[in-house]
Amino acid sequence: MCVFGTMSVMRSLVLRGFSVWSLLAVVGVAQGLQDVHALIQPHPGESHWMRVPWRTSVWEARKQAAKEGKPIFIWAGSGGGPIGVC
């Protein structure tokens, strides 16, 4: 179902790989799929710790730390730590 008015909008969305099918049609939201997908994901200024190049193995981190002469910073949590769930 096409809920946009012009072929140019449709072409633009198709070329960007997104369906021209809008969430407007299903949940009464005045935003397209791409907009909602982006809205849910992290925004600039949020979750700063996610920018850290985390490893998920203490042992692999230890090997790399030994090789580079650096200390290891461990952040543990029940859902997999800061880059996991919760």
Partner: protein
């Protein structure tokens, strides 16, 4: 060198990694499911808590060069304890990164990000506490796994525009039961039982096809948990248990030459309602009266990146016990 780990796995593993941590941090390290930050040198010296990394760094620099210089410490390969080590993502399968977010309806009909004012139980907190709680209003990550066998079921053998592929129930149930819970934004410890999934349907419709590519539209819906009842959806500690009814929408792309998926953008969006409880199911700060939008955004990620190898729901033991990948 920053490491993000699961407390229980670190604590319970019976291998060189477990012994390394025990030697550095002592017996009974990471005793609860709370978060812990620690700094350790590669030779096993504890440098202090990670809440003051500058002090830990200063301690590291004061260590003798022969104990900290590059290459000074030899670390052998690890033979991991298979009983607790995190499971790897399924070979030749797909890893989907999920972000979950509680949303608000703006006056103009659009959806927007929430603020602390949207949550009555949060609004009455002191400013400092509110600042801390604000992180729960950001996107919360999770990972879903699709096996190689699952993947094959999503590929049309003779694709034509308009063709419909019904996503197998095992995959849809996995997504709904283990990932599509509004409580995922603040907790790893909740999943729907099979009986709590009242509706779960997802299909892929072929939209475009040529010799090299197939593009499909994803659509469907689900309903988990309670049925909305405005009279019971009150806060705090109202009578209505958690419920969520999302619609699916998305775009999936398959490369016929590479024989693999190149895109799996999926949104699950719908209203959630009822009890957003703590460990004892008492109303928590993120509970709102009535019904409000909750969104989940899925995307394909590279499983060779360590940060994308977190197990679904973040809990290795739970993953083993739930038959997550069962068919």
């Amino acid at each position: 060198m920053a490491v993000s780990v699961e407390t229980r796995v670190a604590r319970e593993r019976d291998d060189a990694e477990g012994r390394f941590l025990t030697k550095a941090l002592g017996e009974n390290f990471f005793p609860t499911s709370a978060g812990y930050m620690e700094c350790i040198a590669a030779n096993g010296r504890h440098l202090g808590g990670g809440d003051d990394p500058f002090k830990a760094m200063a301690r590291f620099r004061r260590m003798p060069s022969k104990a900290r210089a590059p290459g000074a410490v030899k670390v052998p390969d690890l033979v991991a304890d298979p009983s607790v080590a995190p499971l790897p993502p399924p070979a030749r399968g797909l890893v989907l990164k999920i972000h979950a977010r509680l949303l608000r309806r703006n006056e103009d009909g659009t959806l927007g990000r929430c603020t602390t004012r949207d949550f009555p139980l949060m609004a009455r907190e002191r400013p400092r506490r509110k600042r801390n709680l604000r992180s729960y209003l950001e996107a919360s990550p999770d990972f879903a796994w699709i096996t190689e066998q699952d993947k094959k079921a999503l590929i049309p053998s003779s694709p034509q525009v308009g063709m419909v592929i019904v996503v197998p129930r095992t995959i849809v149930m996995r997504l709904c039961r283990f990932h599509l819970t509004p409580r995922r934004v603040y907790s790893e410890g909740f999943e729907w039982s099979e009986g709590q999934v009242h509706r779960a349907a997802l299909k892929l419709v072929v939209e475009a096809v040529d010799d090299k590519h197939i593009r499909m539209r994803a659509e469907g819906s689900a309903h988990m948990g309670s049925t909305f009842d405005p009279g019971k959806a009150t806060t705090p500690n109202g009578l209505l248990m958690l419920g969520y009814a999302p619609k699916f929408s998305g775009t999936v792309a398959y490369d016929r030459m590479a024989k693999d998926f190149t895109r799996f953008d999926l949104v699950a969006l719908g209203d959630g309602w009822g009890r957003m409880g703590d460990a004892n199911n008492r109303s928590w700060f993120l509970e709102r009266p009535g019904r409000h939008p909750v969104g989940f955004a899925f995307e394909l990620v590279n499983p060779s990146d360590p940060a994308n190898r977190i197990v679904p729901m973040g809990r290795s033991a739970k993953l083993r016990g739930l038959g997550y990948l069962a068919r």
